[in-house]
Symmetry: C2
Subunit: 344 residues, 2 copies
């Protein structure tokens, strides 16, 4: 039996953590929960959608008649500006801190019925520009800006209208903090940016590549924990979204479309995922150890209705996957380049 | 506004990680996915269940006519004994290692229709003894033994028959490794076991206590990330399950019953969760920094059908919760001490 066919661990250098790979396990029969797959065809405007143009939101505000991207403050924000109250006195095992910040919602398009893979590249480019502008504006006053999208009911998304969120905080949250430390350590040891080296090595190898162009590469990372996880990397040094040049933004819109089409085509469904951007913290404009990148974390494993459960062992011991990253990348590469719905 | 009512962060000293608490957010309306609640009444024997006594399992083996606990090797094990093949040569960003071990399934009872909260305390005590015996046997030949239970379809459990799993590995997995480091650092600084100090301070305070007896205390920890997360702690120094004295095992069976009844009664449903035991790695029999403990990670948030989604922000930035641990503990404390099904 080859090494890749038997249980092994791989190391995630960005999180500084091992994960367990059990390739043979993909063959076991599944008798557990089936999720509802999303193959609904939706109208361009839904009078009951609180994100559609012209409609009223919870809280009574009315959306404008927007034409491409529309951004507003989250009506149920998890973060708020400082209320000015003081932290209780800490005991060593009871430590707390204030958490101030802002939460925004960003509609990608007024078209209720189309998610990113079905949007024209020019409209995805507008989304990229808006992300960059938001990051620039919010990083001027906040320590970290987290741009993300929850897609699909399976990912806790409460509306099918194409949209994402932006949460900005007066501190650097746990995950980017961890990535910051790992990238800084690598830089100190190698005098190079970890993810720039990694992007070049993945482009050379090709086994885990899902899509690429002159500026970007999308891979199922060597250490992926979700079955069809993707890491989207620039092939040039860049720390922040707002630092991207026009041609790099065009190329980003292209590869975002390619990646999300591969996802939808894999199981012929609107593919659920959480995705988001990690850039350098605001306070470090000159951070050569950092590389801007996006993570896609999709839950599906075998079909449009059978997901991977990250439960028991994964929560208590370590992440575990049931097919190799190389196999996942091959499945995604083998999908059609045209979205399945526009082929009919 | 008091500190506890506004967004703040709390520090998890076991994982060395912050989490975000947004108490006001519990009030927002929910328009997203509803899960199916489990209120089914099941027969004591189900001819189609592959875990029931006398039935055939996938793979063709037949279960014996067992009377209390029954343990067998997982038919689709994520870990296997060494196949003797060699690791590929590592590059710094492409690190892999062999992962050898064993996976077992443990039926808690032949009664298909009753989970832990409905089992007699004496039968839960038998489960505790079996856990201890398994841990002793497997830790003699493996570096770490992870005992856990996935309960409910929502937690990827493929059978409602009361059962748990045991995965033993020739290495210490990521999570216990992290807890080992955090506890060792605390011990070095304070010359005391972190979780023994913590158990005493929680018992003094009471605000987060769900249940307690002379030997154990169950709390929603100060840094809980899941809404109704529970940390079950011994109030005496102990590193391994097999080191528990008879009266400590009796008291453990009692508090396990109390905790799982509180869970089921909270939303009058068979409460889903993943739970598991963290003990010291096998190689460190004398590890005064370690305290044996169990984590309960339940997904439900507002009702038997509305769960917390740990998605976008949580996966990319940091865990976020929508009610304070103190509020969660108060809800659990307020539940009836008798299981709702046995009151009818
Ligand atoms: O109980 P099963 O069917 O082996 O599997 C379940 O628990 C495992 C260990 O937590 C997970 O890896 C699986 O995703 C989950 O479905
Ligand atoms: O999009 P919503 O409804 O604000 O909420 C969703 O995303 C948030 C950020 O990832 C999560 O905290 C919620 O659990 C999830 O339901």
């Amino acid at each position: 039996m080859s090494f890749h066919e038997q249980p092994h661990r791989r190391f995630n250098p960005l999180k500084n953590e091992w994960i367990l790979v059990s390739p043979h396990r993909a063959k076991r029969p599944w008798q557990g929960q089936q999720d509802i797959q999303d193959t609904a065809v939706r109208p361009a405007h839904d009078p009951d959608c609180y994100l559609c143009a012209g409609n009223e939101r919870a809280g009574g505000l009315r959306n404008p008649d927007y034409k491409n991207v529309f951004i507003f403050d989250n009506d149920f924000a998890a973060l708020m500006p400082s209320a000015g109250c003081r932290v209780e006195k800490d005991k060593p095992l009871f430590r707390a801190a204030l958490a101030n910040g802002a939460c925004r919602v960003m509609c990608f398009s007024p078209d209720h019925g189309k998610t990113l893979p079905e949007m024209p590249v020019a409209d995805i480019r507008t989304v990229v520009d808006s992300w960059a502008a938001q990051e620039k504006e919010l990083s001027a006053v906040h320590a970290y800006v987290q741009i993300f999208e929850n897609k699909g009911a399976m990912m806790g998304c409460s509306s099918p209208h194409p949209h994402g969120q932006i949460w900005a905080t007066d501190y650097v949250p746990a995950e980017p903090e961890r990535e910051d430390a790992a990238q800084a350590e690598w830089f100190e040891q190698h005098q190079s940016a970890m993810l720039l080296t990694y992007a070049a090595q993945e482009a050379d190898d090709g086994a885990r590549t899902v899509a690429q162009n002159d500026h970007w590469i999308a891979v199922v990372p060597y250490w992926a924990s979700w079955p069809y996880e993707i890491l989207l990397l620039p092939r040039f040094a860049v720390q922040h979204m707002h630092a991207l040049a026009p041609e790099e933004r065009d190329a980003l819109a292209d590869i975002m479309k390619a990646v999300t089409i591969a996802y939808d085509n894999l199981f012929q469904t609107s593919f659920p995922y959480s995705m988001g951007w990690h850039g350098a913290p605001s306070a470090t404009p000159d951070a050569p150890h950092w590389q801007l990148h996006a993570h896609f974390y999709p839950p599906l494993l075998r079909s449009a209705s059978v997901r991977k459960f990250m439960v028991g062992y994964e929560m208590l011991a370590e992440a575990q996957r049931d097919l190799t990253p190389e196999a996942a990348a091959a499945h995604l590469r083998a999908t059609d380049k045209i979205h399945y719905r526009s082929q009919r």
